[in-house]
Symmetry: C3
Amino acid sequence: MPVLLDIARAPTLEALLSAAKTQGMDWRISAVPDAGPLKIQGVGTLSSAGGQEISFLANPRYQSQLGATKAAAVIVSPDVAQALESGEQGRPPFALVVCKHPYLLYARVAQWFDAARRPALPGGTHPSAVVAADAVIEEGARIGPLCVVESGARIGRGAVLGPGCVIGVGSSVGPDSLLHAHVTLYEGVKVGARAILHSGVVLGADGFGFAPDPSLGQGAWGKIPQLGGVAIGDDVEIGANTTIDRGALEDTFVADGVKLDNQIMVGHNCRIGAHTAMAACVGVAGSTTIGERCTIGGAAMLSGHLTLGDDVHISGGTAVTSNILKPGRYTGVFPYAEHGEWQRNAAVIQQLAQLRRRVRSLEKE
Amino acid sequence: MPVLLDIARAPTLEALLSAAKTQGMDWRISAVPDAGPLKIQGVGTLSSAGGQEISFLANPRYQSQLGATKAAAVIVSPDVAQALESGEQGRPPFALVVCKHPYLLYARVAQWFDAARRPALPGGTHPSAVVAADAVIEEGARIGPLCVVESGARIGRGAVLGPGCVIGVGSSVGPDSLLHAHVTLYEGVKVGARAILHSGVVLGADGFGFAPDPSLGQGAWGKIPQLGGVAIGDDVEIGANTTIDRGALEDTFVADGVKLDNQIMVGHNCRIGAHTAMAACVGVAGSTTIGERCTIGGAAMLSGHLTLGDDVHISGGTAVTSNILKPGRYTGVFPYAEHGEWQRNAAVIQQLAQLRRRVRSLEKE
Amino acid sequence: MPVLLDIARAPTLEALLSAAKTQGMDWRISAVPDAGPLKIQGVGTLSSAGGQEISFLANPRYQSQLGATKAAAVIVSPDVAQALESGEQGRPPFALVVCKHPYLLYARVAQWFDAARRPALPGGTHPSAVVAADAVIEEGARIGPLCVVESGARIGRGAVLGPGCVIGVGSSVGPDSLLHAHVTLYEGVKVGARAILHSGVVLGADGFGFAPDPSLGQGAWGKIPQLGGVAIGDDVEIGANTTIDRGALEDTFVADGVKLDNQIMVGHNCRIGAHTAMAACVGVAGSTTIGERCTIGGAAMLSGHLTLGDDVHISGGTAVTSNILKPGRYTGVFPYAEHGEWQRNAAVIQQLAQLRRRVRSLEKE
């Protein structure tokens, strides 16, 4: 699982590896069973791949599954290949693809299948879309059914808008970007090349800016207009229902190669450095700057007006409330336990300062 | 509150209970006031129900509200009924419906009203919808305005798509399912029978899969295509803006009877067992398996690649970071306090290991 | 940044301040450079404003930026003005606008620019919208492309629906409200005047109500129909992808002037008091009542069936699990640390009750 191509369109193992983008990686095919050139129809895990699929072994903990796999071919590291080839059990019943980076080679093979299974659709604008007269749809761009492209917007070469996307006044989508169904760009939002934006993404909603305004009533809030925009670099992927707010006076900025999972919230004026990745449900409050190559675990939250340096890694569920300039891994999660045990320990938490005083007083005795 | 039917369409109390699906529950009507057969127009709480509404007492803490309720009839347990019927205050001014399971009977009565107040709409496809020529719309299905149903998709008998839904290539919606407005199914998503999907739900967006790919630049991420799909069982309800990602190589799987609240995130390759319920804002990271009949409290987060057994109950806000195979309730929440008190205790948290050493050293003295 | 108006439409500094709504605030212009009346084209921060923009100094920590700003004019407090006017460095190269409330005056100036840069669009219904025959579109309301307005709905005077909004049966949007693209109102939802609802907002999805129903199978859940609605007051702003569920029997209620950020979840039957503000990613479980003028920090979560009084302030990330009736600030966040340090301290957390016993026993010696 999954079989992705009909047998008629399936390549041989050799043709597949030659067609996939394997630049920078050495690989060799070894131990092909006698049955002759294999046709590869898809990719699967060791436990689920059938006899026309290629699989891979990247994590040693799955090595025991090699014995039972039905895959036609398996991508393995040189070490594993050597053990298999010289093993006492005789030649394995599958072909070996030997590569120092089995997971990356699997990724490339999967990318080839992903492209091959999708029919190349012609550019053009679906008749049900509503496109402003002065919007620019570049060559080969594809505007799906029931999209709205407003005045002055620009959709780059080869970009694809899925059904029901809305592109606001003067916003732009870079070449070869893919917007799945129901993506919303407010006005003044710039998305770079080769972006992937998933359904429900909202870029450019107003940042959360209010000031107490007594003239509107006791405790009432006056709105601070959000006059900046959102600028997204190249090669950025943004997960379903993630929201990135527009800046108050300047653009909220997401650099090249950033990967954001689903249901992330990035507040106004934030700046996220290149190749930083965030897992789902992260919240980044306004005006926080995150460096390059950081990773933020799921459901972590970052307070506003902070600076995180490059190569900072935050564990899932951690609340970051102050600057972190030193690379490293940071964590702050309450350890869970059976409920009764938690109750007993939590009761002490509420008296910790007192407990410390008691220890201090014992020490003085 | 609320009155749901005009008086002309309102049933008598007896007719209402006979029409509601009360199988498996014994009930009897008692203590009907002299005024004669009541017409019941709606359902309300004890404190808000008016004289044409039925109410219920399921939680003993609300028993004191019985004295002041204006409801025409109240569903009560046999114990409460006995107390009322034999009470010194005389016959209550409302009819009693006596049942061992008052809350469940209320649910059935409410279900009857919910169905009765909605006009039965004919099947058919709104002229503004965009439906592929080879999509299959089964008998009695209703495709709302501005929906998009792509090639090879199938909408089952009696299913309803609200306005603006998008059903991707080859996806299917089971019979009698209800998709509210703005639900998005990517390609290759299967939804079972009698599902209820709320607005903003996104099923089948790409799982978050990346591998470091130095050929793309220092720190750059290469995409792992997400070639699996999403499979949802029967009788599943999914709340507004909840997202369930497609699997990397196999389907992300949600079993029969699962109930998910709003803004939940289920990562790729997860498997959720039958009748498990999750409150809002829960995050489940990729490749985690959850058993049957579990409950996950609001804003809890589960790390990836975990296994939770059957009948595991996680308290709201808890971060689960390891397998839980034993049924029971598990918790891990930092107790809140007034800010100053929290500050004093939190300061000790950061020196707990040191504090334990000091106690150990005192013990050795 | 940003320049918002062409030079031809830009006002002089004096005209700008006279046109902005500055009621209740005294201000004066001082220290205008010799070059003569300035044309102001936009608003910027001290560090980014160019020579045709107005800036402001509201937070003393940015005072050092005054020396290098290129802004044409700066809004400052009387203290700062006095220091600048009497300073040894001579007259500053920008005009001063002196006001006791620089941030509020900036807000008003920004509001003026925000209105001025948007062309006044005529009312009317886009031909691609699907509007029920018995829906009421009041004078000057504007229904965007591909909206759906269902039977009995009412859109108030001057209200604007962005592209792709869905207004359910019998729902209403008050005068001068602005719904950005892709807002969904279920049936029976009332929104007051001057609301701002951002993209992806869902109001009125079913609350999460289920009761164990053995007749449906072991562990199965029966649905409690959600028969109430949602009622939103005047001057409420709701951020992108926030969801507010309909009540079980009565309306979920949000009072006047409430401000909700993105991706907030408000459960059924909640009541939120006037002028309360919540930052992003907050979850409020069902039937919780929050008072007036509260602030809830980002990613805080409130359990169900609680009461928070007026003027209660919850820090970001805090889990509130019991009533808070006393005004004040409350916090409960696990302090983060470098991962190894966290591990050492977290290990003690799991033995805190035991540690306390050990201290007690030492004290008895």
